[in-house]
């Protein structure tokens, strides 16, 4: 008799566990199938110089960060000071921007106003490079290794915690 009364309680607890896991997952963070795969190739003009072309091959041999940003993106403003501070530390990891679906003037003005942490920014007016990289929520940040393989992707603004606990340890490992 007692055991029978415990059944609903047991089922309830199982439901609570499932709900707890489900509600703590962030549905916005869809794991990228590109992690562990070679970064898609690109050859695009840079934001600052329309006649200069930056290619993926130019960056082979170093570990670098690809940060997707736009002047219209408010969440980018949130993470921007962190990127500026990081690039000022000069730890040797270049940050390449991907200026996503932006106007050239707006992008330049934005960098002039908030600081420019990027070695260079790719200018992706129609979002084609974005599609290649599976970008769906700006800002996004990729860690790409010396062989040009994507090792990590962060969706949404980088927080100091993400930089300290995820990105920096990975960079240290990849640079070793």
């Amino acid at each position: 008799m007692r055991a029978r009364l415990l059944w609903p309680l047991g089922i309830f607890l199982v439901l609570v566990v499932f709900l707890a896991i489900g509600l703590n997952l962030n549905p916005r963070e869809v794991p990228s199938p590109l992690v562990g795969k070679p970064a898609p190739a690109f050859a695009a003009p840079t934001l600052a110089a329309p006649d200069k072309t930056l290619r993926k091959e130019d960056l082979l041999g170093k570990v670098w960060l690809l940060n997707v940003w736009a002047s219209w993106c408010t969440a980018c403003r949130e993470e921007h000071p962190l990127l500026v501070a990081y690039s000022k530390q000069g730890k040797g990891t270049p940050v390449i921007g991907l200026n996503y679906k932006d106007k050239r003037d707006d992008g330049m003005a934005w960098l002039a106003k908030f600081g420019n942490p990027y070695v260079d920014s790719l200018f992706d007016l129609d979002g084609r490079i974005g599609i290649e990289y599976g970008v769906y929520g700006v800002p996004e940040t990729f860690v790409i290794d010396k062989a040009g393989v994507i090792r990590y992707k962060h969706i949404g603004p980088i927080t100091p915690e993400v930089l300290r606990d995820k990105i920096e340890p990975l960079l240290k490992k990849l640079n070793a």
Binding site: S32, G127, I131, E132
Partner: protein, 161 residues
């Protein structure tokens, strides 16, 4: 009777009339080829818009959805098959873009889950019914049911017959 039928027909045409240009307006760049547009919309309806996750790329007005519709349109014009286009999307955005995810180890529970629950429910029902079948008739009489307290037996609807 005939008059009413004609009226209905006219009404139907009037409703259809403005609908067609409305649909066509959405895609100016490929208006030339309704065939491509039709295939694109079928494919787009299978793909999830990752910005507004509960809409398909066909439904969504997000700029990413527009870009992806354009991407699909161009791939169709290049002569890519539907499967090639689906692969293109999953390679970049993962299985999550497909409203009908493929069957594999990771998604097995998703596909088998409902059948499993159904089997569990039917199994439980069968076990319970079998058990009841083996009980004597007394178990279903409130006056003699040993599971009921004395006062509950009093309150049973046919206790004092």
């Amino acid at each position: 009777m005939l008059k009413r039928l004609l009226l209905l027909l006219g009404l139907g045409l009037a409703l259809l009339g403005p609908a067609t240009p409305l649909l066509a307006k959405e895609a100016p760049s490929a208006a030339a080829n309704p065939e491509v547009e039709k295939r694109m919309m079928v494919l787009a309806a299978e793909l999830r818009c990752l910005v507004c996750q509960n809409q398909t790329i066909a439904d969504s007005h997000a700029s990413l959805a527009e870009d992806l519709r354009q991407q699909v349109r161009e791939m169709i014009q290049q002569g890519k098959t539907d499967d090639e286009i689906r692969d293109f999307m999953t390679q970049r955005y993962g299985d999550f873009v497909l409203y009908k995810p493929p069957f594999k180890a990771q998604t097995a529970l998703l596909w088998i889950g409902p059948a499993l629950l159904m089997a569990l429910a039917v199994g439980t029902l069968i076990v319970v019914l079998r058990r009841r079948q083996r009980l004597s008739d007394d178990a279903f009489d409130p006056e003699t049911d040993p599971n009921l307290e004395a006062d509950e037996r009093e309150r049973a609807p046919d206790a004092h017959r």
